[in-house]
Amino acid sequence: MSSTAAAGAIDHHHDSTTVTGIPNKKLLMWAFLASDCMFFGCLISTHLIYRLHPPPGTPNARDVFSIELTSFSTFILLMSSLMMALAVNSIQKGNLKSLRWSLLTTIFFGLIFLGCQVYEFRNFVFEKHLTITNSILGTTFFTLTGTHGLHVLIGVIWLTAMLIYSFTGRLTEKDAIDVESMGLYWHFVDIVWIVIFTAVYLLEYL
């Protein structure tokens, strides 16, 4: 009931205005992520199917990949999830200062990941001669990891907007659900990367 919300601190785990108690924004994000699962599922399947039928002359993935760099950027992305979780925790406690530092670190880690990907793409195209058009490996690899990179980029822009609004007073404790929904998205993009890292990179080293 509204009266209880007025009396005490904001209850971040129960929304009195919805039937289930789950905030609408959170439910929307979960349903969207289900959709996104199918989206990445189809892309990853495409890669895995085409991987089995390389025509003669397809570059060997193991000669192209640099697993050290990708392992590093994977680690960084996972750590960004930790910082994202801390950001959600901070805003739920109304600690804006801590929120800003956590968001900033998350953005920073996201940017490192994107930087690694840009470096990787340039390296593959100019040094290893793997392009999006010259082989089926290039086609599926760049499309899949590029789409994931786009998701990270959207996340970084979204986080940056939140960081800015945390200074203008638009993002306060009562908007914790916005940060939490964003967090769901960010964690999902990380989990997808774990699958991609396994299915695209590690699989080549078996």
Partner: protein
């Protein structure tokens, strides 16, 4: 407990009064009110009008096809024009007619059935419609260009759609159009899912939901989970066409069969996206006009769920002739047989509803019974295809054309027509003439059967689909001529239907509230419903909520008076502000999509460089969209409160409430 209306107003009351720095459109009439509306009823109306408009468009294409096939060796259309016709007829009827008409009912009826004042995200809802409109425009742009309309079939099989075989922009427009329709459908479906789960009135438990609302929920889940597959397929073909990637380039290791798999992983659930709303409408109409509750409500609901679930496991029955191997073929054959079971269960439940009922044969009921019968024929010819050897015989023949028209016209369209008749009094406060309604039904019914029944025989005699003409000595002359005559009878029926509707909209007899003596909550509203829907959010006591209310008037009146007082104490009825940004975002998408699909790169040389007009327009569109979305977020989901008089008219509006 409470739905949107009783927001946590008290908690935020003090900190409210946030200045409105952004423009808030407030027009209630005129063009601007339609462009900025967030009212689910107005958006539903827009979907319905668009669907009916494209229905005339797609029907016209169908008539041209039938004229061409009326006699052997006809030269009414060229083979190229014929390909455009059947491609656009299929694409239009599926994506621009049946889906938006379904969406029209989802929007208009579903929130009323669950006792809500709007959907969960009103502005996202507007965005869904405008993006749908943009997709429809892109899809049909080819008619007005020298490139021509898309001509690779509604399934767009690669490699026919690759640049090598379809070098013009026609396919780019098809790809981009479908892509946007997918975005629109997913956005709308997410909204409906959240609305149904989170915004039900007190007492409206899941197992009290009207069946139409259940089917809306299942359809939404199907959309959310199946559209990503075609999104990826379209992304891949677009990458092939724009950037020269190898997804469907056989010489570089691409596998065109992948297109078929991705397309049908979407395509088969899509079939259920088209039929489940129809089943929902039928499940509302039959009980109302049988004056009985729906027979076996939980079974109908669960069979709807299992149809949706199994619908994801049968896609390869569209591909039996591609040589998948015996194991896959057997598995998909079995799954296809299995999915006929819940469908059959529903048919028996509907028959059970009619059984021993006091049937009143009004126009909606006539269409609904027509649906039962025709859909069953379509279902029976459909389940025949689950036997792979039999399917191999019928694949690509007119038998298939007959089958899916029985499901889509005799099924979906009959139900949508029934739904329009059924809810017309609620939507517009006027009643359709029984005489003209029934006349249109008989023309449609006879015309439909005369058109499509002979196609079963044509198919069995080997007449192939998608072929623009045939020789006179194949034995197909009579069947084709009959079908063409039938098509014109059907067209006359549809014309009567539409003229009747237009007449009724302007001049029809006014009706009182709840003219059918119906069972579900939307009929508790005055017609047409006020913008705030419910004066007091209803409390639901039984499965057929309105039926119960009508029989417990005293109890309900007392309860509503109490709740009205509480509402007023909480600050009145909360209404969302209108917004122009969803529309602007869709305009940005339109410009960006024109850049991707229509505009030529600067020069025709091999390497035109990056910064041609194509990229510039695409980025411009993207920027407009981005800015609109940012402003959309910035203006916030604020609203105002309204206070009502006893008779339901608006006493005052309160714009200082914040939130």
């Amino acid at each position: 407990m409470e739905a949107l209306a009783k927001s946590d107003f008290l908690a935020k009351g003090e900190t409210a009064a946030k200045p409105l720095v952004l423009w808030r459109p407030t027009a209630k009439t005129g063009l601007l009110s339609w462009l900025t509306t967030v009212d689910h009823k107005k958006i539903g109306f827009l979907y319905g009008i668009s669907g009916l408009f494209f229905f005339i468009f797609g029907g016209f294409e169908a008539l041209l096809i039938r004229i061409q096939l009326a006699v052997p060796n006809n030269s009414f259309l060229t083979s190229a024009q014929y390909s455009e016709m059947f491609t656009m007829h299929g694409t239009t009827m599926i994506f621009l007619v049946v889906m938006p008409m379904g969406a029209a009912f989802f929007n208009f009826i579903m929130p009323l059935q669950i006792g809500a004042r709007d959907v969960a995200f009103p502005r996202l809802n507007a965005f869904s419609f405008w993006t749908f409109a943009v997709g429809a425009v892109i899809l049909n742009l080819g008619w007005f260009m020298k490139d021509g309309a898309p001509d690779a079939g509604w399934f767009g099989y690669a490699p026919l759609t690759t640049r090598h075989f379809s070098p013009t922009h026609a396919i780019d427009m098809w790809v981009m159009g479908l892509q946007l329709l997918g975005v629109a459908s997913i956005a709308a479906a997410l909204n409906f899912i959240v609305t149904i789960i989170n915004m039900r009135a007190p007492g409206m438990t899941m197992m009290r939901l009207p069946v139409f609302t259940w089917m809306t929920l299942f359809t939404s889940f199907l959309i959310v989970l199946s559209f990503p597959a075609i999104t990826i397929a379209l992304v891949e073909i677009m990458m092939d066409r724009l950037f020269g990637t190898n997804f469907f380039e056989v010489s570089n290791g691409g596998l065109p069969i992948l297109w078929q798999h991705l397309f049908w992983i979407f395509g088969h659930p899509e079939v259920y996206i088209l039929i489940l709303p129809a089943m929902g409408i039928i499940s509302e109409i039959l009980p109302t006009f049988s004056r009985k509750p729906l027979f076996g409500y939980p079974i109908v609901v669960f069979s709807g769920a299992s149809i949706g679930f199994l619908g994801f496991g049968v896609w390869s029955h569209h591909m039996f002739t591609t040589g998948m191997g015996t194991t896959a073929t057997a598995a998909f054959a079995l799954m296809t047989m299995a999915i006929a079971v819940p469908t059959g269960v529903k048919i028996f439940n509907w028959i059970g509803t009619l059984w021993n009922g006091h049937l009143t044969m009004r126009t909606p009921m006539i269409f609904a019974i027509g649906f039962l019968w025709m859909f069953m024929i379509g279902g029976l010819s459909g389940v025949m295809h689950s036997a792979a050897p039999s399917d191999a015989e019928q694949h690509g023949s007119y038998f298939i054309v007959a089958h899916f028209h029985y499901v889509l016209i005799g099924g979906s369209l009959f139900a949508l027509f029934a739904g329009i008749h059924y809810w017309f009094p609620l939507m517009f406060g006027r009643k359709v003439s029984e005489f003209w309604g029934k006349t249109s039904f008989w023309f449609v019914f006879v015309g439909f059967n005369v058109t499509f029944f002979p196609m079963h025989f044509l198919g069995m005699e080997g007449m192939p689909r998608r072929t623009f003409t045939y020789d006179g000595d194949m034995g197909w002359n009579v069947g084709n001529m009959t079908a063409t005559i039938g098509a014109f009878i059907l067209a006359i029926g549809v014309a009567i239907y539409f003229l009747t509707m237009i007449y009724t909209f302007f001049k029809g007899e006014k009706t009182s509230k709840d003219p059918w003596d119906a069972r579900t909550l939307e009929w508790s509203l005055p017609n047409p419903p006020p913008e705030y829907n419910f004066k007091v959010i209803p409390t639901v006591h039984a499965r057929d909520g309105w039926w119960y209310e009508k029989r417990h008037t005293e109890e309900i009146q007392k309860e509503q008076a109490e709740h009205a007082k509480e509402d007023e104490a909480h600050g009145g009825i909360h209404m969302p502000y209108q917004s122009i940004y969803p529309f602007l975002a869709s305009v940005g998408i339109l410009i960006g999509a024109l850049g991707v699909a229509v505009i030529d790169p600067a020069s025709t040389t091999q390497d035109p460089g990056f910064w041609g007009p194509k990229v510039a327009v695409t980025i411009l569109g993207g920027l407009i969209m981005f800015v609109s979305v940012v402003l959309w977020a910035l203006e916030g989901n604020d609203g105002y409160h309204i206070h009502l008089n006893e008779d339901g008219s608006i006493k005052s509006e309160d714009h200082h409430a914040g939130h």
